[in-house]
């Protein structure tokens, strides 16, 4: 009973902090909305493909027109035709992220391509960015198809000429152009196509841009919210009320248990609200497997609680609570896949990230919301979270000071 | 303006909206003396010295400190005074030496003169061996001493101390009172506010009693006590509601004044030896039992009680 009283007292203190609602709920929701909208990719545009500038200095030759047509058929990029005035600032637009890349077709490109010479266009791109890499890859594919088409035209003309000479150079030219155009058109329905789909898309589900941001921000703010709980503990110690508690018939174990229960309740309620908001406002599928979601939420709250207890145990001042909490939050969130999926990082980073409990929490959530898996898929993540909980809790109890 | 006066207060008043915190007060502090402003919390003492320290502007009236008007020459006033605020005002993350060095600069001390003065003050306040320690790690008493030391850096002619002994242990209090005496013996004028009668009595050459924004009496201790003349104070507790006996006692001959505060009855009487039996007798008649009796020689508390009808300590 005393444990409950103590937990309730902590809850009251946290709830009375005016910043509690801000840090625990408003900020994670705001961040989820922000990152979901921004990183969602489409940004409200009708065509979600990456924009790639197209500058035609070859006076609209069949080759440059063919290249443009091939680019339009891409499923990852869309060409944006730039006139000469816009072309002058094309590089800056790539630098500023407004265009993923710019293709500049030089004068004489078509002629060289058709003659089988070294026809080269210019690609302005920053391959350090993932958008740049994607654009470069797609443009490369289109250029190879175009140069291949020029070769086809050449081969066809040779085959024809071997049987029937061309009436005139103009006639040959027309033949080549026809071959090129026909080849380019054929690529719109190639004999062998590639289709890539996620298992989610297979189930006719549209990708949800909040599916990363919602669980990511929940994980991050489950840790950020510890500032409140940790501060309560430090204030109790500083004001002497913690020592005073021990003059009442309550054991040290009960004191620790009370604080633990109080913090756990705060984090659990926070997560529950964020799950509901995520499901109802952002359409993230937490509740299609409610048991599985619960099996991630509870261990995450437990881990967060044990971390908060540890921070409260080692901190002497409120400022230290904030400092340790922020450091823990930055590292656990950034390296645990809360900000960006670990699969887009390097091998080493991804491996190290998975040493952290937050990465496992993210895995658990993604199994539910992205992969649609059930309770069985979250048992391992839950187990890892609980193991870390035991570790942090043990350290906290060992380091806990009452004065 | 008398040359021997370090501070002259003339019709000084301060209003905060509808509240008249200080109402046209008037007193002088002679150079080289210890002058106490005595009064309960809320009497206007802190407001008065805030004005004398040039922290607050008066609503009306003026005062001069070492010949400088607080209204027209606040900077000159600040050069002449050292202020010890009631709450410790120190930088907790700086050391004692760093605190003194910084405040010394604020008082215009520089270079070798500053360094020497800091060392001297550290000796005076007994913190020379803890000068490198961070103030956040100091005990309450040590902080109070440093708090006083800062006010001494620039060798002010007047030192203003606002209730410096509130909430501290008896030993530290004793130290502070001894320090005040020592400073005064070196020639410093001290303006000291307190609500402890014993301090005012022990330290002061002159005392002004304040209540509800007014100076209700001032003079030496003896002069003030004379206000109540030969009146003794008798404090009594009874086993019934005071209302049962207050009127009969008030009506008794020889009783000058009766007041009731928190169940305790205080009487000012001409002769306590003569009056006591009568008081017991009338209590008997009223069916009331006296449970405790205390007799006080006339003192400042008696004076305050006489003048205001209330106890000095609330």
């Amino acid at each position: 009973m005393r444990v409950l009283d103590l937990a309730l007292k902590d809850l009251k203190q946290v709830a009375r902090e005016r910043t509690a609602a801000l840090f625990l709920l408003i900020m994670p929701i705001l961040f989820t909305l922000f990152f979901g909208l921004v990183f969602g990719g489409s940004g409200g545009e009708k065509d979600p493909r990456l924009p790639v500038g197209f500058v035609d200095r070859d006076s609209g030759s069949f080759a440059s027109a063919g290249l443009r047509r091939l680019l339009e058929g891409s499923d990852t990029i869309r060409p944006v035709v730039l006139d000469e005035k816009a072309a002058a600032r094309a590089g800056e637009r790539v630098r500023d992220g407004k265009l993923a890349a710019v293709v500049v077709v030089p004068a004489g490109f078509g002629e060289r391509a058709m003659a089988g010479g070294d026809a080269r266009a210019t690609l302005i791109v920053d391959r350090a960015s993932s958008g740049g890499q994607t654009a470069a890859s797609a443009v490369q594919a289109a250029v190879i198809r175009l140069l291949g088409a020029a070769k086809v035209a050449q081969l066809s003309a040779e085959a024809f000429a071997a049987r029937q000479p061309f009436p005139s150079p103009a006639g040959r030219q027309l033949y080549l152009q026809e071959a090129l155009t026909q080849t380019v058109a054929a690529w719109e329905k190639p004999p062998i196509a590639i289709a890539a789909r996620s298992l989610q898309e297979e189930k006719k589900e549209r990708p949800n841009p909040f599916a990363q941001a919602s669980p990511g921000m929940m994980v991050q703010f489950a840790i950020f919210g510890l500032i409140g709980a940790g501060s309560v503990l430090v204030m109790e110690r500083k004001s002497g009320t913690l020592q005073r508690l021990l003059t009442t018939p309550i054991t040290r174990g009960q004191v620790v248990a009370g604080h633990t229960l109080g913090t756990f309740t705060v984090v659990f309620i926070q997560e529950a609200i964020l799950v509901l908001v995520g499901q109802l406002a952002f359409g993230v599928g937490y509740l299609r497997q409610p048991l599985a979601t619960l099996l991630v939420v509870v261990p995450l709250a437990a881990f967060s609680t044990s971390l908060g207890l540890l921070i409260g145990a080692v901190s002497r001042e409120e400022e230290q609570v904030i400092m340790w909490t922020l450091i823990a939050m930055f590292i656990l969130s950034a390296m645990g896949g809360a900000w960006f999926p670990l699969d887009i990082t390097g091998q080493a980073f991804s491996t190290i990230g998975h040493l952290l409990p937050t990465a496992w929490a993210m895995d658990g959530f993604q199994n539910v919301v992205l992969r649609g898996l059930g309770a069985g898929s979250v048992l391992l993540p839950a187990g890892v979270l609980l193991a870390y909980t035991a570790l942090c809790f043990g350290l906290a109890v060992w380091r806990f000071r009452f004065e | 303006m008398g040359e021997a006066n370090a501070i002259e207060v003339r019709e000084l008043a301060k209003d905060f909206g509808e509240i008249h915190a200080v109402q046209g007060i008037h007193f002088d502090v002679r150079a080289g003396e210890i002058f106490s402003l005595l009064g309960p919390n809320g009497a206007g003492k802190t407001t008065t010295i805030s004005m004398l320290s040039c922290l607050l502007s008066p609503t009306s009236g003026d005062a001069s400190v070492m010949g400088h008007s607080i209204v027209r020459e606040p900077m000159a006033v600040k050069e002449a005074i050292g202020v010890v605020p009631q709450e410790v005002a120190l930088y907790p993350d700086l050391s004692a030496q760093e605190n003194l060095a910084f405040w010394g600069k604020m008082y215009g001390l520089r270079g070798a003169a500053l360094r020497q003065r800091v060392e001297e003050v550290l000796e005076v306040i007994g913190l020379a061996d803890r000068q490198k320690g961070r103030v956040s790690k100091f005990s309450g008493g040590m902080k109070r001493r440093l708090n006083i030391g800062i006010a001494l850096l620039h060798r002010p002619q007047v030192i203003i101390m606002d209730e410096p002994t509130v909430g501290i242990d008896p030993q530290s209090r004793r130290n502070i009172l001894d320090n005040v005496g020592a400073l005064n013996r070196e020639g410093m004028t001290v303006l000291y506010t307190t609500h402890y009668m014993e301090e005012a009595q022990e330290l002061s050459d002159h005392i002004a009693i304040m209540d509800q924004g007014k100076v209700i009496a001032h003079g030496t201790h003896e002069e003030l006590v004379k206000i109540v003349g030969e009146l003794d104070r008798i404090d009594l507790s009874i086993n019934a509601e005071p209302g049962a006996i207050v009127e009969p006692w008030r009506a008794s001959e020889g009783v000058r004044q009766v007041s009731v505060e928190e169940g305790k009855i205080s009487l000012l009487v001409h002769d306590s030896n003569l009056m006591l039996p009568r008081l017991f007798e009338s209590a008997n008649r009223a069916g009331v039992r006296i449970t405790s009796v205390e007799i006080q020689e006339p003192n400042l508390e008696t004076v305050f009680l006489h003048l205001t009808g209330r106890a000095l300590r609330d």
Binding site: T19, L22, M27, V38, G43, V94, R95, G97, R120, A121, L123, V125, D126, S130, G132, Q133, T134, A141, L147, G148, K151, V152, S156, F160, R163, Q164, T183, A186, P191, I192, A193, R197, S198, L199, Q200, P207, E319, Q320, I322, M323, L326, I327, F330, I331, A334, M335, P341, D343, G346, Q347, A348 | A76, K78, V83, P85, Y91, P92, D93, L94, E98
Partner: protein, 423 residues
């Protein structure tokens, strides 16, 4: 002189606080360092080699076609995917059925299931109905499936192109009444394959085939990673400079609560000097912070900040903006208990609106880039981007002037509010 004493005292107090040091220096460098570590693999000359290996389960339903002899396109593709140069990217296992492959992806035993359809070889050797090579991938993955798709696409394009070549030649000759025999088609096939191989070799030499690469203005080769880190570091510097501005401005309120501000007023120090010292302390602290961050990040992450004068110009604008904004925001706060909401809420939201959390993200919605310009953060970021792109004073001038102007405006209002408060 007293003004400087007060400012220096504040600087000393700032640098004595472990918390302040963490927020001024450790946090921005830590965050940038984490990103450096995370994305260090991308953007280097050997692209993609540091990425996690993608586990692929392949189902080869392909069969020899009538005229293909031993040639099975699916088998050749699998051999390619298992080749040594692909081993660093892909781990390929062959399974018997599509269902088994998909189930493996669902159980997270594989990242991608690659289904090579039955008529693949037939589609290569003869004009038949089109076929589709299908990839099913784990929905949580993006890079690995994209890489596999790119590799398979390019390989398959070779086959498809060969088929298209034959079809086009046959169609053209046929329309002109010229007979098309196997020899012609074989010649076409060889000629086309040779051209594709030639283009492939160009790629093998580390270039792009048919394309000359050009970096965006201001970027130098071999500095791509540093350019990415510079963007990240800049946003951290701006964010934490604004944080420091607010935190040092908060000390005015803290001194009021500590009683030392009132005590300062009892010394012969004019109020203007006291407040001026506090304000100067804010500037000096931020300047020291920014200089240290610029130098340390240049050393740690190889960032080349650009022309010193331009750097100085945008730094000045940013410092004034950060100091002014911090002072203004704190002038609205009554006590230090309320300031938590400022740090948590106002600074983060304004940083978000200023675009600090999305540097490096491409294809941002246009409304968002407009919103950036309503914040001093957005203009500071603009100035820095111009400088990092190799721009001179001219390019940095407008953003620097705007940040300076905004900073002065915020500062003036904040200073007036504080003066009023303490008068």
């Amino acid at each position: 002189m007293k003004l400087v004493d007060i400012a220096l005292k504040d600087l000393v107090r700032s640098f004595r606080s472990a918390f302040a040091l963490v927020m001024m220096f450790v946090a921005p460098l830590l965050l940038t360092g984490i990103i450096y570590f995370a994305f260090g693999g991308l953007g280097s000359a050997k692209e993609g080699f540091d990425l996690p290996v993608t586990r692929v389960q392949v189902v080869n339903l392909d069969r020899p076609a009538g005229s293909s002899g031993d040639f099975v396109a699916g088998r050749i593709l699998i051999q390619f995917l298992r080749s040594p140069e692909m081993a660093r990217l892909l781990q390929v296992a062959e399974v018997g059925s599509e269902a088994a492959a998909r189930a493996a992806v669902e159980r997270k035993e594989a990242d991608v299931a690659l289904i090579l359809p039955e008529g693949l070889t037939a589609a290569v050797v003869a004009p038949t109905s089109p076929v589709t090579v299908t990839l099913y991938h784990d929905p949580a993955l993006t890079i690995g499936p994209a890489i596999l798709k790119g590799v398979v696409s390019q390989f398959v394009d070779g086959f498809a192109g060969s088929r298209i070549a034959s079809n086009v030649v046959a169609s053209q000759l046929g329309r002109r009444g010229v007979a098309v025999d196997a020899a012609v088609l074989e010649q076409v096939g060889r000629g086309y394959a040779a051209r594709i191989q030639e283009l492939g070799q160009q790629q093998g030499e580390g270039r792009l085939a048919g394309l000359d690469l050009q970096l965006p203005p201001g970027q130098k080769p071999s500095e791509e990673r540093a350019a990415m880190m510079a963007g990240m570091m800049v946003s951290q510097i701006i964010f934490f400079a604004f944080y420091t501005g607010a935190a040092t401005a908060e000390t005015i309120i803290r001194e009021q609560e500590e009683g030392t501000l009132a005590r300062l007023s009892t010394t012969p120090t004019p109020a203007a000097v006291i407040l001026g010292g506090k304000f100067a302390g804010i500037f000096i602290t931020i300047i020291v912070q920014v200089i240290v961050l610029l130098l340390v990040s240049a050393l740690l992450f190889g960032i080349h900040w650009g022309e010193p004068l331009s750097v100085a110009l945008v730094t000045l604008g940013m410092v004034v903006a950060a100091a002014g904004f911090g002072l203004f925001v704190m002038s609205l706060v009554k006590n230090t208990r309320q300031s938590g909401a400022v740090f948590g809420g106002v600074l983060t939201v304004s940083g978000m609106m200023g675009g600090l959390f999305t540097t490096g993200v491409q294809n941002l919605p246009s409304f968002y880039t407009t919103v950036n310009l309503f914040t001093p953060h957005g203009w500071a970021l603009r100035g820095w981007k111009a400088v990092l792109a190799g721009g001179g004073m001219g390019d940095a001038l407008l953003p620097a002037l705007v940040t300076l102007g905004l900073g002065i405006a915020f500062f003036t209002v904040g200073a007036l509010l504080f003066r009023k408060r303490f008068s």
